[in-house]
């Protein structure tokens, strides 16, 4: 039987860690690290126990436990947990990969003086993310959605003395804000049209039952508004601009938040509330196309990046696009499968990159790295495994999950299928590019790379752990666990063949260009006019910057004027002026003459008398 207490413990243990660190151990680096790791490991253990309790139980268990938080008339907001296989899968990913990254951070951040603050923020993030995973109603989900955004802001701008980091944090938060506005509108609209028998409800379970009775046009609007939130959180086009800059944060942050978990929250949301989207073909089409466009656009941008973390960031964007596309093609199972494997290998890649950065004393440009495979064998090999998994090479986990998505696309929409295939080819190409440039070949005789040596155990053990998961992930039977009653078609041979050929082609082409380790990127000249367009990220940032500078600032100026002139000058100063004038007039009553006072006195008496007499 499922014990819901485990869910609650998993929920609140990172929060406890965060609170204890903040109150008591902000001076001690080791204590903070141990507290944070203890918090997340507790959650992980609880998740594993929950998993064992629901493993192979048929029909699949869906357990809900909530208390009424706010109840005013017809408005009821609950606070509770909803445990089903989907939630437990996500919980395992968040806590498992999270634990690995927390342990890794202990090594990565050991030189940083403010690492206690880091662990406090990380624990806060873990709490918020688990909150999103376990929430059983939209409002609670939204609260934790925002909290996750806050944690992301805090962690991106962790080195706040660096202006670029602080700006990146603000950018992430503001872009997410824009998206969350749409999200909130969607939630409230859904609530207002829901009628679950005894009133309106935010609960997923209630809404799932009632969705079929609602007007499909309104529901499409709701679906698209909720998808706005996904566009922001999972960095789809056109709100993708914050993810690349989010690499300003420390690498463990990039691994945990911007690869494995937070950005995947949007996908998770779609899967969790898929009952809303299921019947709406227009909405789903929009979602699928946005996913496809994001996937392709991001892949093209990754080709010209030279910062190792930015390459991985665009790669994440691209894979997220694929997941969104899968959901748009009515494949929540495929989307979640890819999310799981992606969590494994993307975290692996980021941690590997972090290991490299750490060993090279915060050097991040791949053109300043060479022959790292020889210098740092464990990192190199695990990174290679990650690269191959991401490219979709048989029989690693990435192959299986990406293949499912490609098969789904080939069945429903051939345009998107070719977009996805092209994306996979580009993925293999730029990952190969990264590997050949930074890891392949002979170690240089001088410079940073010459002095690089393998990172400490506390960092390499998580790498190995994640590498093992990446290799075996395809054989764990994840789709069956998540959706045991959905159809699981046998593998589509032609799709599998085409994807493998495309992947190998990508790797081969990249070897051709970069295998000999040129000193400069030949693409700069080969791509001609395309190169600056790609370098400027299709000018998205330019357009947004122009908008903010001109349109938004003008609107802000108008409101400023309203406040300054109308409210302050007329309102506030006007009031004081009025009071002063009244005072000037009324002070004449203080004439100092006793007779005048007596007169007024008698006047009052006469007046009162008058009232009494006339009333009588």
């Amino acid at each position: 039987m499922v014990n819901p207490l485990l869910a609650w413990i998993a929920f609140f243990s990172p929060l406890a860690a965060c609170v204890v660190i903040t109150l008591f151990s902000l001076r001690s680096k080791t204590y903070s690290a141990f507290l944070a790791i203890a918090g997340i490991l507790t959650s992980f253990v609880c998740s594993v126990l929950l998993f064992l309790q629901i493993f192979h139980v048929d029909p699949p268990i869906e357990l809900q436990q909530s208390l009424t938080w706010i109840h005013i008339d017809s408005l009821t907001i609950n606070f509770g947990v909803l445990v089903n296989p989907l939630a437990i899968m996500m919980l395992l990913i968040v806590t498992g990969v999270g634990s690995a990254i927390f342990i890794y951070s202990m090594g990565y951040m050991d030189e940083d003086q403010s690492s206690p603050r880091f662990f406090a923020y990380l624990s806060l993030f873990a709490f918020s993310m688990i909150g999103i995973v376990l929430s059983n109603n939209f409002i609670q989900l939204f609260i934790f959605w925002e909290l996750v955004g806050l944690s992301s802001y805090l962690l991106i701008g962790f080195w706040y003395e660096k202006p670029s980091a602080a700006d990146a944090g603000v950018k992430a938060f503001v872009v997410n804000r824009v998206a969350d506005f749409g999200f909130l509108c969607g939630i409230l609209l859904l609530w207002s049209i829901s009628d679950v028998g005894n009133g309106r409800s935010f609960l997923f379970t209630d809404l799932a039952g009632v969705v079929t009775h609602l007007d499909p046009h309104l529901l499409t609007v709701v679906a698209l508004l909720i998808f706005c939130g996904v566009i922001g959180k999972s960095a789809q086009v056109p709100l993708h601009v914050w993810l690349a800059d989010a690499m300003e944060g420390p690498t463990p942050v990039s691994a945990l938040i911007h690869a494995a978990t937070m950005v995947a929250a949007g996908i998770y949301l779609l899967a969790r509330t898929f009952f809303i989207f299921e019947p709406l073909s227009t909405a789903l089409t929009v979602i699928a196309y946005i996913g496809g466009i994001t996937a392709l656009l991001a892949a093209t941008l990754a080709v010209v990046e030279n910062d190792i973390k930015r390459i991985l960031a665009y790669s994440t964007l691209s894979q997220l696009g694929l997941m969104v596309m899968a959901l748009g093609l009515s494949g929540p199972m495929q989307g979640m499968y890819h999310l799981t494997t992606h969590a494994f290998f993307k975290a692996l890649l980021f941690l590997g990159a972090g290991s490299v950065i750490y060993a090279l004393h915060h050097e991040q440009n791949i053109w300043n790295m060479q022959g790292l495979l020889k210098q740092m064998p464990i990192t190199g090999v695990t990174f290679l495994i990650g690269t191959l998994t991401l490219s979709g090479i048989f029989p690693l986990s990435g192959f299986w999950s990406k293949d499912e998505i490609l098969a789904l696309a080939s069945k429903h929409n051939s345009l998107l299928y070719w977009v996805a295939t092209l994306t996979s080819g580009l993925t293999a190409f730029y990952m190969g590019r990264l590997f050949w440039v930074a890891f392949w070949g002979k170690a240089p005789t001088s410079g940073h790379s010459h002095q690089a040596h393998e990172s400490p155990l506390v960092m390499t053990i998580p790498l190995i752990f994640l590498a093992v998961l990446s290799v075996t992930g395809g054989f764990l039977g994840i789709p069956h666990f998540l959706y045991p009653h959905a159809e699981h078609p046998a593998i589509n041979i032609s799709v599998a063949l085409i994807s493998s050929v495309v992947a190998i082609l990508g790797l081969a082409v990249s070897y051709m260009i970069y295998g000999k380790r040129p000193t400069r990127d030949p693409l700069e000249t080969k791509l001609g006019f395309l190169y600056p367009v790609l370098k400027n990220k299709y000018y998205f940032d330019v357009v947004y910057g122009w908008y903010v500078d001109h349109v938004q600032q003008s609107v802000a100026k108008i409101f400023f004027w309203i406040e300054e002139i109308v409210l302050v000058r007329f309102g506030v100063h006007g009031m004081t002026g009025l009071a002063k004038a009244a005072g000037q007039v009324l002070r004449r009553l203080q004439s100092g003459l006793v007779q005048f006072y007596a007169l007024v006195f008698v006047l009052g008496v006469v007046y009162l008398f008058f009232i009494m007499v006339t009333k009588l």
């Binding site: 203080q590 004439s591 007779q595 007169l599």
Partner: protein, 100 residues
Amino acid sequence: MIGLGHYLLLSGILFSIGIVGVTTSRSVLKILLSLELLLAASNLSFVAFSRFNGDYTGQLIVFFVILVAAAEVAIGLAIVVLMYRHFSTIQADELKDLKW
């Protein structure tokens, strides 16, 4: 027949004259005198009520009012004298120190 109403009307007239005196006099002494008129008016109405209602309370109140009025006048006149010494005049207009 002289009824209660006659006495009350008389008392009212006296009171009004007293009010006029208090508010229109320039000299402080005259104000005090008018004050006495006010008190006399109310004394008259008290005694009239006492007579016509068969209750001695009115007369006793008058007794006490007379006493208190005496005390008040005494102090009031002392103040008038002091005022004359300070301001060399007893015009009420001159007491303007508490003006805004």
